[in-house]
């Protein structure tokens, strides 16, 4: 050693680190030490290598980086002496793991040490190999380890056995090489070797069915005998733990027997006697004995058995369950969970105790018990159990409420015997732990409420009462607000009073107050506030005398910084001011949801949609509301196609919604259909926020109808619509007039003449500030399916367009043929045009209308321009 080195001793370094008062001080000391160690490493100072590594290990335990010391481990391992190797291997296991490539460098040293004449060095190498070997090392060194399984010293044999476990886990192909040696280990007398040998056999069975068969045939008898010997062995101080000789060996033997007995009646039969003996004779007053009983129970429940032993096992668990020791109760709950699949009746007997465990002060026990109880609930006991759980919900810990709520909701939904029971229980959960209720759960509740038409009055009154007592629970507020909006009149007039209800007097003013409270709550989030706005709009129609006051509340949000609320506020205000005529139709009660669609959707992508889209709560009922009521079959089609759209797209596709896709939705509804239908569609637009239905081309065009007369107002209207995403009603008065015209003026009548298919109006298929595309239609006599379209492109800008290219795509039911264009240069300022002929064959002629996606590319001012558009407003019957 170099006497002049400034390096501190390990003990001094630890003392210095422990003396540090702050984390910063500690870091400084460690930094200094690391610098000294690095310097020493760079000098390749052999005398200090040992000490440096010891220091680095301590530093590593503290959590500081020590990668620079990895090579030092290898050097120490490669040196000749035992002390160096000992610390080197320890460092290797601490500073490296199997993923580091440096590890490969140690393979050779390991190989040498596995063959070393000093058995302790062999032991070190086996230990290191067992703890960190990688698949490559396992392959390289497996023969050495295999040989060491027969080493003369038992301490080496046991290490080699555990090392073999690691090897076969890393490389299962090697398993068959170990089967015979492992079987011979089972005959050993040395406990260490026996324990590790049994463990090796168990792991071999896991990776190789060949091994399983072999041990099952050759070793079951022997293992049963070994277990019997150890169970009946006299007191042996070396292995005794609270009166039991080597519980570890007991447990491992039971575990291996379990593997051999599972799925094999013969092997199971051979072990039943000894299992019965262990189950009945083992002392259960100490942990060691209970550990054996626990293992024995699991083995009994896993093997093939006629049932006699199982009764014994379940009884042991019953005793465990009534034990005062929390650990024992915990494992009992854990094991009963597995027993439910074997003998649910027997487990049911302990239901009361398990329910008590759900209320335990220990979180681990509560969690286990709740999960077990969840499995035990059936039609017969669901009512009392749910009652208990909900009562407990009131007093449970905050951190447990999430789990508990989820389980209660799931059970209530699974066993909803009667709607009123379901609604009652859910209201209780919402009032107690509404903040823990997941979105899909309260969505489902709204769905059930809207379906239970005889309970609307009851529900809204119950919610109102709950709301008065607690406004802390967000989801309660949401559901209450939704119901008050929908069924406000029932709340006030006590409609549908049930016998079990207490009478309640609610004035219109009270109902509006409640919603106002909801919208003004500081904790209300965007969804709640948006829902409250809709509820207010609905109430304005239910309670006309409060219309002014409601307008006042709505207007307060017109300057809201959240766009969604601001927009709703302004739009709703507009409805209240300007559109009294359509208001009552707009805010009609939500039609009943279709159950199949709803459950299908729930299975689908509901959760994500809910979390992403702000307007979600009302788009849920809205989106699905239409099928039931919409009077026109075409619209029905559209709606059902539509259904996934609001839910799955949520706010994800606003760009789609803002653009073209919106216009066709609005246009046909205004034009072709009776007012009832159109208001339905408008209603959707109003309440679903930005998540307007994304139209799939074909369905959108189903309801299309276009007439010459309609076009002017359309254009106007569309322009506006693309400015404001959902502004059917937010249009300024100027635009509102033509829209009202459309609503009132046009029945299906005007289109009639055109349906003969003789003359079709031209269509401005696409118009932007720079380009207009006109389509002229004609039909060849005798082939009604085929439409000839002449497209005319006009340049509206002052620059010439070069390399003009028009492309079009159609859905499968259409066939498209494009003729070459008249030119690829489009003169500026409408000074000439390009024409191109298209031939479209509609295989669903008369059922579906044309739809087309077009893409126009050109060069202007040396810039490439690309415009894309979907054209849905083709005349019908093309």
């Amino acid at each position: 050693m170099n006497p002049f080195s400034s390096g501190t001793r390990l003990r001094d370094m630890i003392r210095a680190i422990r003396a540090c008062k702050t984390a910063a001080e500690e870091r400084a000391v460690v930094r200094k030490e690391c610098a000294a160690i690095r310097a020493s490493i760079n000098e390749d100072d052999q005398d200090y290598r040992h000490r440096n590594l010891a220091k680095l290990m301590f530093i590593q335990i503290l959590g500081y980086p020590t990668h620079f010391g990895q090579m030092e481990c290898l050097k120490l391992i490669a040196s000749a002496g035992f002390p160096e190797k000992r610390i080197g291997y320890l460092g290797l296991m601490l500073l490296l793991d199997e993923r580091q490539e440096v590890l490969m460098l140690v393979t050779n040293s390991l190989k040498q040490d596995l063959n070393h004449s000093n058995q302790y060095i062999v032991g070190l190498a086996l230990c290191a190999l067992g703890n960190i070997c990688s698949a490559e090392m396992a392959r390289d060194l497996a023969p050495e380890v295999e040989r060491l399984l027969q080493f003369r010293d038992p301490n080496i044999r046991k290490k080699a056995a555990l090392c073999s476990i690691r090897i076969i886990k890393k490389v299962p192909d090697l398993a068959e090489n170990f089967i015979n040696c492992a079987a011979s280990l089972l005959k050993e007398k040395h406990h260490g070797v026996l324990i590790t040998g049994v463990q090796l056999c168990a792991d071999l069975c896991k990776v190789s069915s060949e091994a399983l068969e072999y041990f099952r045939k050759k070793c079951t008898e022997g293992l049963v005998r070994t277990l019997r010997d150890i169970v009946n062995s006299p007191y042996s101080p070396e292995y005794d733990i609270s009166g039991i000789t080597d519980p570890y060996l007991h447990i491992r033997l039971l575990k291996l027997l379990r593997i051999l007995g599972q799925g094999d009646a013969d092997a199971s039969d051979r072990m039943t006697d000894i299992l019965a003996q262990v189950a009945t004779k083992t002392e259960s007053n100490k942990n060691a004995g209970n550990a054996i009983l626990y293992e024995c129970v699991e083995t009994i429940m896993s093997i093939e058995d006629d049932g006699g032993l199982r009764v014994l096992a379940i009884n042991i668990l019953g005793k465990f369950l009534s034990n005062r020791d929390n650990n024992i109760r915990y494992v009992a709950l854990n094991m009963l969970m597995r027993a439910t699949t074997l003998d649910a009746q027997a487990v049911q007997r302990h239901r009361a105790t398990i329910l008590d465990c759900v209320k335990d002060s220990d979180a681990s026990i509560r969690k286990r018990a709740l999960e077990l109880l969840y499995l035990l609930v059936n039609e017969n006991n669901v009512k009392p159990l749910i009652k208990e759980l909900i009562e407990y919900l009131e007093v449970s810990d905050q951190e447990f409420k999430g789990d508990l709520t989820a389980k209660i909701c799931s059970l209530v939904e699974k066993f909803s015997l009667e709607k009123i029971w379901y609604i009652d229980q859910m209201l209780k959960v919402l009032s107690e732990a509404g903040n823990f209720v997941k979105d899909e759960v309260w969505h489902a509740l709204i769905f059930v409420i809207s379906n239970a038409s005889d309970l609307h009055g009851y529900t809204v009154r119950a919610l109102y009462r709950a709301f008065l007592t607690s406004t802390e629970q967000e989801t309660l507020v949401r559901v209450a607000v939704w119901c008050i909006g929908e069924y406000g009149d029932m709340l006030v007039n006590n409609v549908g009073m049930l016998d079990i209800e207490d009478p309640i007097t609610v004035t219109e003013c009270d109902a509006v107050d409640a919603v106002e409270v909801a919208i003004k709550r500081h904790t209300s989030d965007l969804t709640t506030k948006a829902m409250a706005l809709i509820a207010l709009l609905k109430l304005s129609s239910r309670f006309p005398s409060y219309s002014e006051r409601i307008k006042g509340i709505i207007v307060q949000n017109k300057g809201n910084l959240v766009l969604e609320l601001q927009q709703r506020s302004i739009e709703f205000n507009r409805i209240l001011q300007k559109h009294q005529k359509i208001r009552s139709a707009l805010v009609e009660r939500m039609p009943v949801l279709d159950e199949a669609t709803f459950s299908g959707r729930r299975a689908g992508s509901l959760p994500t949609a809910i979390s992403t889209s702000s307007g979600a709560p009302s788009n849920l009922p809205n989106g699905i509301a239409k099928p039931a009521t919409a009077p026109i079959p075409d619209l029905l089609d559209l709606s059902s196609d539509d259904v996934p759209a609001p839910s799955s797209s949520g706010g994800d596709f606003p760009q789609d919604l803002l653009g073209v896709d919106l216009s066709p939705t609005l246009a046909p509804s205004g034009a072709g259909k009776p007012p009832k239908a159109s208001t339905d569609v408008l209603l959707d637009l109003l309440s679903i926020g930005t998540s307007l239905p994304v139209q799939t081309g074909s369905s959108a065009s189903d309801i299309l109808s276009s007439s010459q007369d309609d076009k002017a107002p359309f254009a106007n209207f569309n322009g506006l619509a693309s400015l404001s995403s959902l502004s059917a009603n937010a249009t300024s008065p100027v635009n509102a007039a033509p829209m009202m015209d459309l609503l009132d003026g046009h029945g299906p009548g005007p289109q009639k003449p055109e349906e003969n298919g003789q003359a079709y109006p031209s269509l401005v298929a696409y118009e932007s500030s720079s380009l207009r595309v006109m389509f002229n239609f004609s039909k060849q006599p005798g082939s009604p399916q085929t439409t000839l379209i002449q497209a005319t492109f006009t340049n509206l800008s002052s620059n010439v367009y070069n390399d003009f290219l028009f492309q079009a795509a159609v859905p499968k039911f259409l066939q498209l043929h494009l003729d070459p264009a008249s030119s690829n240069t489009l003169p500026a300022s409408g000074d000439g045009s390009i024409t191109q002929n298209l031939k479209v064959t509609n295989s669903q002629h008369g059922k579906k209308s044309l739809v087309m996606r077009v893409r126009i590319a050109y060069k202007t001012n040396n810039k490439d321009v690309l415009e894309e558009r979907q054209i849905n407003n083709f005349p019908q019957n093309l």
Binding site: G63, P83, M93, R99, R166, Y248, L249, K255, A291, N326
Partner: protein, 168 residues
């Protein structure tokens, strides 16, 4: 399928103040994961009250812990492992430490942390129990210690070592 292995994924010794005294990883965890495990688990375990059960469910695994004086001994196993046996293994380790150091205390484990590791390596390999006899474990560690001593004495006779001793 039955879980055949009682494999311990890692062993931790954490002081009541949250200081880590020993870590041994038998399953592969990256450095980042290791510090996350330490942080999360010490948060969970140190805050658990007395008289509660010794098991904590954590990230789909189970952590069995037991407090001895100021130290928490924690071992992590699969959810279907035998928790009660792990408690015995922890106790087994503690008793061996006690025999080796002679009524062991936290300071012993701080200044002789490598010894604590040597002992653990004689009890567990690859997360599996190696030896159920405390006497065998202590004897094996002692035998290796004396090998080290013997080697030291051999080199201790060299000149440079005498100077080194004089300089200390």
């Amino acid at each position: 399928m039955i879980n055949a292995c009682q494999k311990i994924h890692f062993v931790l010794l954490i002081s009541r103040q949250g200081k880590v005294r020993l870590t041994k990883w038998y399953s592969t965890y990256s450095k980042k994961e290791r510090s996350k495990v330490l942080r999360e688990l010490s948060g969970v375990i140190l805050t658990r009250g007395p008289r509660l059960c010794n098991f904590v469910e954590w990230r789909g695994l189970k952590v069995v812990y037991k407090r001895y004086a100021s130290l928490y001994f924690c071992m992590c196993i699969d959810p279907d492992g035998n928790e009660l046996e792990i408690l015995e293994i922890i106790h087994h380790y503690v008793e061996v430490l006690d025999r080796y150091f002679g009524s062991v205390c936290e300071l012993d484990l701080i200044y002789n942390f490598h010894k604590a590791y040597y002992i653990l390596d004689e009890i567990l390999i690859s997360g599996e129990l190696q030896e159920s006899s405390k006497r065998t474990v202590v004897r094996s560690v002692a035998a290796q210690d004396s090998l080290v001593e013997a080697a030291k004495e051999e080199t201790g006779s060299t000149i440079s070592n005498i100077i080194a001793h004089a300089a200390k």
